[in-house]
Structure formats: C-alpha cells, structure tokens
Amino acid sequence: ALHAKETVKIVFIGPLTGGNAALGLGGRNSADLAVQLHNADAKAKYTFDMVKLDDQCKPDIGVQVATKAGADNGIIAGVTHYCSAVAIATVDTYHKFGLPVIVWGAVLPAITYGNDYPEIHRVNGTMINQNEVNAKLVTGLGYKTWVIIHDTTDYGKGHDEYFTKFLTQDGGKILADFGVGADQQDFTAILTKVKELNPDVVYFGGLTPIGVRLRSQMDKLGIKSQFEGTSGIVSDSYIQALGPLAEGTIAFIDGAPIDKLPGGKFFLDQYAAHKYGEPPEAYGPYAFVAANLIMDAIEKVGPNRKAVTAELAKTKDHQSIVGPITFDAHGQNVVPIVTAYVVQDGKWVVWGDSDYAKGKRKLAGGK
C-alpha cells in the first residue's frame, strides 16, 4: 500500500493476571496474532490497533474495563471475556454503549440467551452441548456409575447442572456430587470418599489447575476410575503437569478439532512463529476467530459500531479454524460440532482417531 491506511481500534478483554491468567494470556496472544496477520495483509483497508485490558476475572473490574472500552468511541468492537461471571456482568454495559462484542471463552448460556442485546455474540459453545455429547459418549462406553466433582464457580456449577441432567437422561447413575473451592489444594478427603464409593467414572467440571490436582491425588490414593473433564482442562498444561498420569483422560470441547480444519495448522504454525511466551490454550483459537470476525466485519462495513453489530448478526456458515460459525438470534454460535478428546501418548487426540476408540487401548475403570 502506498498511502497510509486508517487505523481502527478494537479491544481484547480477558484475565491477564491472577489464577486464570494462563487462559487469558493464551486468548490475548491469539487475538493479537489475528491482528498482526491482518495488518500484514496488504489488501486490507484498515490497520487494526488492539487495546488489551485485564478484567482479573472479577465482575466489578470487568464492568470497569467494559465501561472504559465502551465509552471510548474510537473502539469499534471487542473480543471479550473468558470468565462467565465477568461476561454476564458486563452485557448491560456493552448494550448501553452499543459496543458489539464477541465472547471468546465464557460458557455460561445466559450470556447470550439471558438477554436480547444485539451487541453480544459468542463464538464458543455454551456448556450445554458439550455435556449432552459427553453423557451420550460415556454411557455408550458402558460405564454405569459416576462421581461428579466440580468447582463452585459459575463454570463448575453450570457443568455440574447440565451434565447431571443429560447423564440421568442417558441412564447413568450419580453416586455423589462434590463442590470444591476454586483455590483448594487438598482433595484427599473427598477422594477417599470417592474411593469408597468406587465409581466407574470421576467427572470433573472445572479448570486445569484443579483438574491436575484431582487427577494426581486420585493416583496417590489408588483410585482406578476413569477420569473425564470439561473444556476447562483441554490444555497442554494439563498434560504437561501430569505427565503419564494424563493418559486416558477424556474431555470435550464445543467446536471442531482445530488441527483438522483448514487454517488450523496455519494458526498453530503462525502462533509458534510469533514466539509468544505462553501457549494458546484451549480457547485461544476462539479469540483468534472472534478477532477475525470483527476485523472482517469492519473491513466490510467500516468502523461503525452499529454497522458492525448489524454485520455480525448476518454471520452464517463462516468458515473458521474452529468450524463454521453461525450466529442465532441471540448472537450465539450454533455450534454444530462437539469434539471429544482423549489424552494419548502425551497429546490430546480426537476421540474417534484414538487407539481407545479403536479398541487398541483400554480406558480405566475396567471398561
């Protein structure tokens, strides 16, 4: 380009400090990657400048930064929030300021379905779908009894609720249901109880740090049950922190397996090439996609919040590295796919492709 392009500001918001920082940083890097790649594209009309804000995973701070972004008329749209409590707290703010945002990680259904705000969109799935698929798959494997452990945040509690619902429908039996604190270290007391109950499967609704602790303490106590989790543990650090113990863990994510989709490998390669300090984690690709959706919309209709909002609403069958994106009336991506993963030889492998599905290896719990 010979003449200077107009610069447009967009915002990324996520937890950059504190306990959930790993995921927040992965999201930020991925969104940043999207912007970098876009800016490197000579054909693009605009250069994008991404403001990055930290919501600390706290609702009140979230409202503050949302106000900051919303009140800044230079900012056209946002890639916002990993934590559900923050995302739900800020929807009013975005609506008030008319700032179109795409949620890139929070999974609470009410974020999109609890209101009619045209500004709010979400690329990742809600926790509903993955639990439905989850329950189907594992009951299909012949497991009969479960113990549910979930953290007491909105994330864990939501998963607990939906998984319980679907599992009971599918005929699974829940022997016990434990809530644990999000910063709890020691689970031996609970796990001793689990050992006594001797379930076929231990289901965990929560994020990687506790997932790691639970899995490793299960081993310590000699619990032989199968371990399965939610999207919160689908991360490299889960495997890295557990080593061989991670083997055989099942988990689900709303979306397509990234390395299978066109562009997925490109994303991973570029991510590596840009030498970010932290891995993208499970939700990085969503932040990447959200940022791209926004930039594409702006390229198309110009830097105008209303127009972008309208443009985003039209998103249908948009091909992305997490699969096709279609926003329903609530701005929710109607995710057609839920991918099941299992850890095999130190990698998250799509269930269907794994030795476990093929019967070459056996999961725990004797099935």
Binding site: K58, P59, V63, T67, A89, T152, T153, D154
Partner: protein, 391 residues
C-alpha cells in the same frame, strides 16, 4: 503533613483563609481531573511525580502549612470546597463515563473504609471482613430491589442488615483482641463468600443482576440533560457517592472529635485503665463495630446498584484485604488519608492496564515503595482537636 500545632489552630480564622483554601482545592481538583482522564504513560508518571513532590513540599513548606491551617480552622469550608471540587471534576468529565465510574468507585470505597477506620483506627477492632459487610449491603439491596422495594429504603436496609449481621460476631469480637480478633473476622469473611458461592438461594456463583437506582422517580441509569448538554448517567452516582462520602467523613470526624472518640481511644490504648474510670468497654466496641459495618453496608448497597451486577467473588477475602490496604496506606485513624490511598489502590492498577500482565507486579512494587518512604501511611493521625477555632 505536619500536625498543626494547637496554638496555630486555635488562632482565629483569617480572612485570607478562604482564597488560600480555594486555591488549594482548585489545584487538587485539577490534578484529580488529569489523573482520571489520562491514558498516557508519560502523563501518568508526571502526575504521580507531581503528587509526590507536592506531598514532600507539603511537609516542609510554609505555604502548605498555611493551607492546612486554613482548612483546619474552617472545617465546614473545607467540606464545602471539597464538594465543589469534586463536582467541578465531574462536570469537566460529564461525557466520559469511565473516569466518572472510577470516581464513584473511589468515593464508595472511601465510605466503606471510613467505616473500617472507626472500628480499627479509633476503637482498635481489626476488621478483615470488610468485604463481607460490604457484600451484605450489596446483596440486601439486590434482594430488596428484586422485591420491588423502594430503592432508598433498600439501600438503608442494606446498611442496617450489615450492622445486624455484624452483631453475630459481637461476642467473639468482644472477647478477642489484636490478631485473635483479626482471625475471627478473617474466618467470617471467608465463610461469608464461600457461603454465597455454594448456596444457590442468592444466585450462587453466577451472582445477581440489579436495576439502577431509582430515587422518587429519578432514574440514575439514564443519561442526564443539563442545559442541552448530555451528561453520562454516572453523574447521578457521583452526586450520590459524593454526598455519602462527605457525610461519612463529617460523621467520622464528629465521632472522633467528641467524647465518643475519646472513649474509643481509651479502649484502644488501655482497656484496664479505661475500665477503672468507668468506661464501658463492651459498649464502646459495639458502637464502633456497628457504626463501621453500617457504613460498609451502605457503601456496598450503592456500589451494587451502580454496578448493576454482583457476584460472590466481588466480596472475598481478597477484597477485604483491599479495604484494609486502603486503610493502612492512608494512615490508620485518619479519614482524610483514605482518599489518596483509595486513589492509589483502586485507580492506579487500572491506570497500569497498558502494561497488561505486568501491572500487578509494578503496582505491588509501588505500594511497597510508598510504605518504605512513609511507614506510618500517607497521612498519619493528627492529635485530636474537638473544635476548630472560634470564629
């Protein structure tokens, strides 16, 4: 700030007090405005440097002493000017919601911390459950607003319920002292937030939504039109928060500068001697604890309605620590110190957003440095004066 000598303060007010104080307030207001709006690293640094230099000068120079005296001799004028200053800042910021929101947040935290100061600074009851009482106010207001109770009533109820919940702790608080009392409140704070989280009755971890304040038909969440210019709806909250902050300040000053304040001091410094002269230890502690929790609850109720959303993890032990930090940084026992301390603890981390994940590191270092330079806090407690000079 050097403590004005009694003799200086007792000297009658001078005619020149007025312009001196006005000038001072104007300078502070200008600084505050710049601090709230700036987004630029360089300006932020410059502002902090200016504040630090002004602070050092204030301890040394005659001009600053003169200024301090002018206010000390005419406390009402000081309050009025502070109100004018904040309103002027709000007017200048009328179309910038974010700085206004920060201003409100700071003022509401000031109210809560003044409450804690009455407990800790005056009476010596250490309270590490500030966020729990703040949260009690918030949740009460939320629940009552849902029931359609008039908002003013709901807010007042929030404060009262916070004080009542505090009375659950009265017995252990009366029996323990120092770190032991601190543990009681820590335990209560953790218990409170865990309880909110695991219990679904109050929204559980997902929290509750609240409407904006509606006072006698005046809807706070609607942008205001003032003579054609449209101002952010946060201006409403600024006015309310300012009224509360000034009210709490005047209240705590009056409490301190009275026989009650003296009683609190006696209880804090030497319970045995206090008892020997007939001072009811339990009564003093109950009053201080209840008043403090009341203010925390009040601030919490308004804060919740301003935010429009509350969740348990806004009221955890970490948040209590933030309240206590403001108190300590300001200088325990001096309600005036709370204001700059709240600005530092609440606004500075947000101003550091540009360094993203490094901001808490820098912020922590900043606070440590401040404490090393001012171990007693920004504004240590002055010697008590019951009344300003005669006019």
């Amino acid at each position: 700030m050097r403590v004005p000598l009694e003799a200086d303060v007792r000297a009658p007010a001078r005619a020149s007090d007025l312009p001196v104080a006005a000038l001072g307030i104007a300078a502070v207001a200008a600084w505050l405005w710049a601090f709230l709006v700036t987004d630029r690293v360089a300006i932020l640094g410059a502002l902090l440097a200016v504040a630090a230099i002004a602070f050092v000068l204030a301890q040394r120079s005659a001009v600053a002493k003169r200024y301090g005296l002018a206010l000390a001799r005419r406390p009402r004028m000081g309050v009025a000017f502070a109100a004018i200053g904040v309103l002027a800042v709000a007017a200048a910021l009328h179309d910038q919601p974010y700085p206004l929101l920060m201003l409100c947040t700071v003022m509401l935290f000031v109210v809560a911390c003044i409450g804690l100061d009455i407990q800790t600074g005056y009476c010596g009851i250490v309270n590490f459950a500030g966020a729990a009482f703040f949260g009690t106010g918030a949740y009460t207001a939320a629940v009552l607003a849902k029931q359609g109770v008039p908002h003013l009533f709901g807010i007042v109820c929030g404060a009262i319920v916070a004080a009542l919940v505090g009375s659950l702790l009265i017995l252990p608080v009366l029996r323990t002292r120092g770190y032991y009392a601190a543990l009681v409140t820590i335990a209560f704070g953790i218990l409170f937030s865990t309880f909110l989280e695991v219990n679904n009755a109050l929204g559980g971890p997902q929290g509750l939504k609240l409407p904006g304040i509606d006072l006698f038909g005046w809807r706070f969440n609607r942008d205001v039109d003032i003579g054609g210019a449209s101002a952010s709806f946060y201006v409403n909250y600024v006015v309310l928060a300012l009224a509360l902050a000034l009210g709490a300040y005047v209240f705590s000053r009056r409490v301190d500068r009275s026989w009650i304040g003296l009683t609190f001091d006696a209880v804090r410094l030497d319970e045995t001697a206090a008892a020997a002269f007939g001072i009811g230890i339990a009564r003093a502690k109950i009053i201080a604890f209840t008043l403090g929790n009341f203010l925390c609850g009040l601030a919490g109720a308004v804060y919740a309605m301003m935010q429009g959303f509350i969740a348990p993890n806004n009221f955890t032990f970490g948040e209590s620590l933030i309240l206590v930090s403001i108190l300590i940084l300001g200088g325990i026992g001096n309600p005036l110190g709370i204001v700059p301390a709240a600005l530092i603890i609440i606004v500075v981390p947000q101003k550091l957003q540009f360094i993203q994940e490094y901001r808490f590191l820098l912020y922590g270092i900043l606070v440590v440095l401040i404490l090393l330079f001012r171990p007693e806090g920004l504004l240590p407690r002055p010697v008590r004066r019951y009344f300003p000079a005669p006019r």
